[in-house]
């Protein structure tokens, strides 16, 4: 479903999570699979709205700045998203919130995204933090 709007969608993801600019093709594929899965569980109406919203943002960018989302420089893209996030229209705010959620899913929903922030929770819990010399915050296991 995102295939039809892949370029502007990726530009939005990078706008929300700047470090996603460095994702490899494989990592993008994995992240987009997660977003597709989430959307596939939603009613068709919601899926259509997401596609339309991405296309609309692309058009707004073109009308306001003379360039579509992928061609905008990061700070202009960020200004655009901030202004829409603060829109007086609930519908617009909701739309940006929804896209932002998808962007975070693409980035932080992947194993590498979790590892990138240092997240380590595992079934073995305290036992997994027993290796010697592991530094601050690791020495309090029972």
């Amino acid at each position: 479903m995102l295939g039809r709007v892949r370029r502007p969608f990726r530009a939005l993801v990078v706008g929300f999570v700047p470090e996603s600019a460095d994702l490899s093709a494989d990592e993008w594929r994995r992240g987009e699979e997660l977003a597709e899965r989430l959307l596939s569980g939603r009613p068709g109406r919601v899926r259509r709205q997401v596609t339309l919203l991405i296309l609309a943002l692309n058009l707004i960018a073109a009308a306001r700045f003379g360039r579509t989302l992928p061609a905008l420089d990061p700070s202009t893209r960020s200004r655009l998203l901030t202004s829409l996030q603060d829109s007086p229209l609930l519908l617009v705010r909701r739309g940006v919130w929804g896209l932002r959620t998808l962007a975070f899913l693409v980035y932080y929903g992947r194993e590498q995204g979790r590892a990138a922030v240092g997240y380590r929770a595992s079934a073995s819990g305290w036992a997994s933090r027993r290796s010697p010399g592991t530094g601050a915050g690791e020495g309090r296991e029972p």
Binding site: W97, G109, A116, G118, R120, A121, A123, A127, A136
Partner: protein
């Protein structure tokens, strides 16, 4: 459509349904057929991987992000064997006399609820974790509270053999957390109660259910249902509905009971909650150890409760305000983050309710009252003070504008955090304590059931879950759900002889 028959049908296997299932073992022992119908699947222990995206999809309705009609609040509730108890944190509190007396349900006393809660707490192995199992995230909350002159209380939790995986809300990978999936349902099955999973009750007719049993989808976790896939018409002289606040209300509404029961779907509350984080200079133990050990109850004074919490990267990212470099910087300090959940004690309010769309799917309508916004702002201020008192360098408070507060702003918290920063649709807010929709009371004009879960005018139809709450509970609700379900089960046992013999209709 295939046909089947049972004596008692229990719809839903969460805190309410699981409790009723165990309490009705005596009927099963007498040869009565008692069946629990659960729409979610039943996972093998090995399928609890702790991976955020796959577990959320397998265990929650809409992956834990069920959106209200206004699109401004996301609701988390379970859709699996064990219902929301498969994903809860297991904090086990008894309700306060103040709240139960304010509910003013004829025939329901605080004393009765407390004694039932205590029995269920013992059944679930509820206890206080010893100090050596409490991680820095929790310890700092307690210290921060002391630092601002307040005393946090320790949550009793229902874990047995907890290894501190910190994955409770993704289903415990160690089987340590005592949900109905671990305690009540296995006991009920040993006692002869049947559990049919992937079985969604579509409609309730006159002592008859229409049920759709599904096959697992490709790659979906969980075993196939005990019944072949297909549509069933199931005769059930006693029906106990325990589909949760949203599920039960929606089921009764799509069954056409709304006109006889004008309060059906009304009175929905949910303790809407915001997540705040404080960034410390050094790494702390946060994603290891039980996530929820302390709380600060300010329900009487300021209409909020603060709880410790620790979420997973995607949920955390979603709940921080904003995006871009500042947001990423906060996420990258994950190992140094302390987290607090700020819950508002909302009130049953006209318009906040559950309805169904034309296909029978639930819709939840929820608007934030000025009181809830103020309570959330007060909760944000208290949490920010606690973080700074615990030594945090920076605090991310969703109701500060901009959301990041530096340590040198600690003295200006009152001016920096206000309810005006709460912007529906922009502020990420969620709720996991869903309550009401089939509230208890005395007659159809004020309620859906009596204090024993008997639906007004339909003696064979009972409710046994969080939908019974006539108003919010102001604390974590599962033990109270079990206590109310226990009352419903008692009444079923008392009336069973009559109801199983008498087939007169109560429906028009």
């Amino acid at each position: 459509m295939r046909s089947a028959r049972c004596d008692v049908a229990i719809i839903g296997s969460g805190a309410g349904g699981g409790t009723v299932a165990q309490a009705l073992i005596p009927l099963a022992t007498q040869g009565r057929r008692v069946i629990v119908f659960e729409q979610g699947g039943r996972l093998e222990q090995a399928e609890f991987t702790g991976i955020e995206t796959e577990m959320a999809e397998s265990l929650y309705e809409d992956g834990g992000g069920f959106l209200t009609e206004e699109g401004t609040l996301s609701l988390a509730f379970g859709r699996t064997f064990g219902g929301s108890t498969a994903v809860y944190s297991g904090t086990s509190l008894v309700p306060s006399a103040r709240v139960i007396e304010a509910w003013a349900v004829p025939g329901l006393t605080h004393e009765d609820l407390v004694s039932r809660c205590e029995r269920h707490a013992a059944n679930n192995g509820v206890h206080l974790l010893p100090p050596e199992q409490i991680n820095d995230n929790n310890r700092l909350f307690r210290e921060g509270c002391l630092g601002i002159g307040l005393e946090a209380e320790q949550f009793p939790v229902n874990v047995r053999g907890c290894r501190g995986a910190s994955l409770c809300n993704l289903g415990c990978p160690n089987g340590a957390k005592q949900g109905t999936d671990r305690v009540q349902l296995p006991a009920a099955e040993r006692g002869g109660v049947e559990v049919v999973t992937r079985a969604e009750v579509r409609r309730i007719g006159d002592r008859r259910l229409v049920i759709r049993v599904e096959r697992p989808g490709p790659g979906e976790k969980g075993a196939a249902s005990a019944w072949p896939a297909g549509e069933y018409s199931v005769e059930a002289p006693i029906v106990v509905v325990a589909g949760g606040s949203v599920g039960s209300s929606a089921l009764l509404l799509r069954s056409g009971l709304g006109s006889a029961l004008p309060r059906l779907g009304e009175g929905f509350t949910c303790h809407p909650a915001l997540i705040l984080v404080g960034e410390h200079e050094r790494e702390i133990t946060n994603d290891v150890g039980h996530p929820k050990s302390y709380y600060l109850d300010r329900s009487v004074e300021e209409r909020f409760v603060l709880e410790t919490c620790m979420y997973f990267p995607f949920v955390t990212a979603k709940n921080l305000t904003g995006f871009g470099p500042d947001h990423s910087t906060m996420m990258r300090s994950f190992r140094r983050l302390q987290m607090i959940l700020a819950l508002a004690c909302d009130r049953a309010t006209q318009g906040n309710r559950i309805s169904v769309d034309r296909s029978g799917r639930p819709r939840v309508h929820y608007r934030f009252t000025p009181e809830v916004r103020e309570a959330l702002a007060a909760a944000n201020r208290a949490a920010a003070r606690i973080f700074f008192a615990a030594g945090a360098l920076r605090v991310h408070a969703p109701l500060a504008n901009p959301p990041l507060l530096a340590r040198d702003e600690a003295a200006r918290i009152a001016g920096r955090i206000t309810a005006t920063a709460f912007i529906p649709g922009k502020t990420s807010i969620s709720a996991a304590h869903l309550m009401g929709g089939c509230g208890m009371g005395s007659s159809p004009t004020d309620s859906v059931t009596d204090s024993w879960g008997r639906v007004h005018g339909l003696p064979w139809l009972r409710i046994a879950d969080s939908s019974l709450f006539p108003d919010s509970l102001e604390i974590n609700p599962y033990l109270t759900v079990m206590a109310l379900a226990d009352r419903t089960a008692n009444a079923v046992l008392e009336d069973a002889g009559r109801l199983l013999a008498n087939r007169g209709t109560g429906l028009s």
